[in-house]
């Protein structure tokens, strides 16, 4: 609600929820950063920390920025204050006491604290009221009133007891409400704008948000949403739907993707377009379900037996998630193969303001057989690009069977009685070559990695996916203020890997630093496999937490100072 108040007030903001699998209690906190400029990561410091229990207070107090404050319940939280940095202030408030006046639900404490925060930052209380109204819109009127009253009390309490922050928010001169969404929501919005008509999933953090949004918008957006019995069913349903002709998407995290591996090859072999969202979390295995990581790249690239074409895109920002999703559908249908959208917990679940997204969506459905197809219809016709015109059930004159067994141009399987006969040995090779040719064509069409920051730099950071957030912030801030010039190469269209375009960029860099949220530098390894270029300097994080700007900056200093 706070983030939305900021965005409606025309501020940029970026919010991240830190939570655990367990529903109950645990250590839950939510951090929001707002600014007039675009906010690209969760940042290092917090301006206002709201601590509802002693643990949160102690853990996060050191990160309250100079000039910032910590608001805590003075009756329940024991807080000494000596963990705070010099210029930060501790603001005890009777949160529980005030909130109990309006509702017995302890969540109301948050609302009181939010009210106080609004005052401290000088935000417009009216905007907040509209947000509350919309958030609880479907609930009882009394809930809305109680919340507004609680927030007002917090606002008033703060007003009479504390002074505003020095860094009070100056509303932008021309306040234009901004869109505020999570990466998951951006993916959903992209999908429905791209004409997705089928979404199947099995709940799994951090991909569940996709299912929830899609289920809530099914009727409105005309998407058949199916929660299936497991991820095996999920992807096969998606493939079935795509075979029948709709644009279909499925979503999961690493564990669920593990179960989709066999069917990935099925989509590859039958040349069925399907979009798979893989929102990574900290592994291996069940790992840390509510923590972030970028540890599944090896799996996405290696999944399923044999060689077949697949495409992997990793959106860099919430905004990019919208566009990448649309692109994913187009690529899937153009190349008739599975497309994996590699997200992660940080991207999927953090909330961010986005500049206006284009409503003008280009849809490319690829090549289709027309209904007056010459007979016999060759669904898997060998062509120069490897792309064979598609057809779907219901269409007259294009009857064929899609088979996971190797088949000839017409789709007839050649794995049984025909296998080993020279003519069909050759036929097999032709089909392999045809399929893999699509990947080669796709490779040449892949854009180069995104170069961000100055042309000339002392150090070039290599990253992919959501890590671009913190990296770009460092390029923008540290890179502009410090003597060290920093730029970044962000890999987003990851596979097929366009080595011709990537290699010169890497080779011309003065120093290269790989920044990834995983143990084994999976992107760096991919780069070496495809270009031979080895990135020796690496900032790798795999403790479940996202990478912080100060960590990147520290590493930059280390690398640039060494034998400089």
């Amino acid at each position: 609600m706070f983030a939305r108040t900021c965005s409606r007030s025309g501020f940029h903001c970026y919010g991240l929820n830190s939570y655990q699998s367990a529903i109950r209690g645990g250590h839950v906190w939510f951090q929001v950063r707002g600014s007039e400029q675009k906010v690209k990561s969760h940042g290092d410091n917090v301006d206002i920390l709201i601590a509802l229990n002693s643990e949160s207070a102690d853990i996060h107090a050191p990160f309250v920025s100079p000039g910032g404050v910590i608001i805590y319940d003075k009756d329940r939280v024991k807080f000494s204050g000596n963990l705070l940095s010099q210029k930060a202030r501790a603001l005890p408030m009777p949160l529980g006491q005030i909130s109990r006046k309006f509702d017995k639900n302890p969540i109301m404490q948050n609302t009181v604290a939010l009210g106080a925060a609004l005052y401290l930052l000088g935000l417009d209380f009216k905007v907040f009221e509209t947000v509350i109204g919309d958030t609880f819109g479907k609930k009882k009127e009394s809930v809305i009133t109680a919340n507004i009253q609680a927030a007002t009390s917090g606002y008033e309490y703060a007003k009479s007891n504390f002074s505003q922050l020095e860094v009070t928010a100056k509303p932008p001169s021309n306040p234009r409400p901004k869109m505020l969404m999570t990466g998951n929501q951006a993916i959903c919005l992209g999908a429905v704008m791209a004409g997705c008509k089928f979404y199947a999933a099995y709940p799994m953090t951090p991909a569940s948000g996709l299912l929830h949004w899609m289920a809530a918008h099914a009727t409105r957006c005309g998407v058949v949403v199916k929660q299936a019995e497991d991820e095996l069913a999920v992807i096969n349903m998606g493939i079935g739907a795509a075979h029948a002709g709709v644009r279909a998407m499925v979503g999961t995290s690493g564990g669920g993707f593990s179960l989709m591996v066999e069917a990935l090859g099925l989509a590859g072999m039958t040349e069925t377009p399907i979009v798979i969202v893989e929102s990574q979390r900290a592994g291996p295995s069940t790992g840390l379900p509510t923590k972030t990581e970028q540890g599944d790249l090896n799996m996405m690239l290696g999944a399923s037996q044999g060689d077949f074409p697949r495409i992997v895109l990793s959106p860099l920002t919430v905004e990019d998630a919208y566009y990448a999703t649309i692109e994913a559908f187009n690529l899937a249908e153009r190349f008739q193969c599975p497309v994996i959208l590699a997200s992660d917990l940080l991207l999927s679940e953090h909330i961010e303001t986005v500049d206006s997204l284009s409503k003008d969506v280009l849809i490319d459905r690829g090549e289709w057989a027309n209904s007056t197809q010459q007979q016999p219809f060759l669904r898997y016709r060998v062509t120069e690009t490897g792309i064979s015109p598609r057809a779907i059930p219901g269409n007259p004159g294009t009857i064929f069977v899609a088979a996971s067994d190797e088949h000839d141009e017409s789709g007839v399987v050649i794995s049984d009685v025909l296998a080993g006969i020279p003519k069909y040995v050759a036929e097999r090779k032709k089909q392999m070559d045809k399929r893999m040719r699509k990947l080669e064509v796709a490779r040449t069409q892949m854009p180069p990695p995104k170069v961000y920051g100055p042309q000339e730099a002392d150090i070039t950071i290599v990253c992919w996916g959501s890590t671009f957030g913190v990296v770009s912030e460092v390029v923008d801030t540290f890179g502009k203020t410090d003597g060290i010039r920093v730029n970044a190469i962000a890999f987003r269209n990851i596979w097929p890997f366009n080595a011709e375009k990537a290699e010169p960029l890497l080779k011309s860099a003065k120093k290269v630093l790989d920044v990834e949220c995983n143990y084994s530098a999976q992107l760096a390894r991919l780069i070496r496999a495809e270009t031979g270029f080895e990135i020796k300097d690496r900032l790798l994080k795999y403790d479940g937490e996202p990478i912080y700007p100060y960590e990147v900056i520290g590493k930059i200093r280390e690398v640039t100072s060494r034998n400089a």
């Binding site: 919005l189 089928f198 069913a233 009857i399 049984d416």
Partner: protein
Amino acid sequence: MLELSKYKSETRPDWCPGCGDFGVLNALVQAVANLEIDPKDLLVVSGIGCSSNLPGFIHAYGFHSLHGRAIPIATGARLANPELTVVVTGGDGDGYGIGLGHFIHAMRRNLDITYIVMNNQIYGLTTGQASPTSQKSFVTKSSPMGTIEEPVNPIALALVSGATYVARGFSGDPKHLAELIEKGIKHKGFALVDVFSPCVTWNKVNTYDYFRQRVYKLNDTGYDTSDLGMALEKSREWDPKIPIGIFYETTKPTYEELDPVLRTGTPPVKASLSQSDVDGLFNEFI
């Protein structure tokens, strides 16, 4: 009735001479011909196994998918285009072994598809291992001392899982089988047709003769197909006689009738790709 030749595939079945699956193929062709389903509107989905090769042998749209995954594929296709007639064909290993979970979940959905299982009580394609319907003590390559597990009872499972049409046929009686399939396709909701379809190569116990001596038709006994309790009892009959025919039949709303998007009537595959109220959608995020 359409001509049977309309469904004739260019590809000759590669089954062993005498394989029960020939009878099933013929019965299916007879059924769709009787129902006058245009081959272009028929989608036959299968998994992997000798039986699962069937879609290649009938002139209709087909999807020869993965071992055990035919039902999810069919589900997706049907949800995308409910104007198609969707028939799933496969083996006992495919459907009652590796695919068992999907089978049961599909039945509780009551999606309007027809599932024909060529139950030969063996893994045919992989050259003869025990299947989930193999009788106890059955000796195979993977059970040289005889199997020691209770066989799956697909009829009983279907009855307790919400299937709305549950039948069993015998490929030695293709006329009767064709009727069962025809009714199954006509039935609105999930229809199971389990078929005794002897594997002449790997199963030397459950042969044509074995079944000829044992099967009898429920229909001939004045059986009431609406009595679930009775159906459950009949599903446990095996020795000395084995019932075939329709065990149970009922009417319930189908998944297609209940799904909020499908019940609007437009098949998703025919819906416009663009959103009607883009501005409203975007404004939700402000």
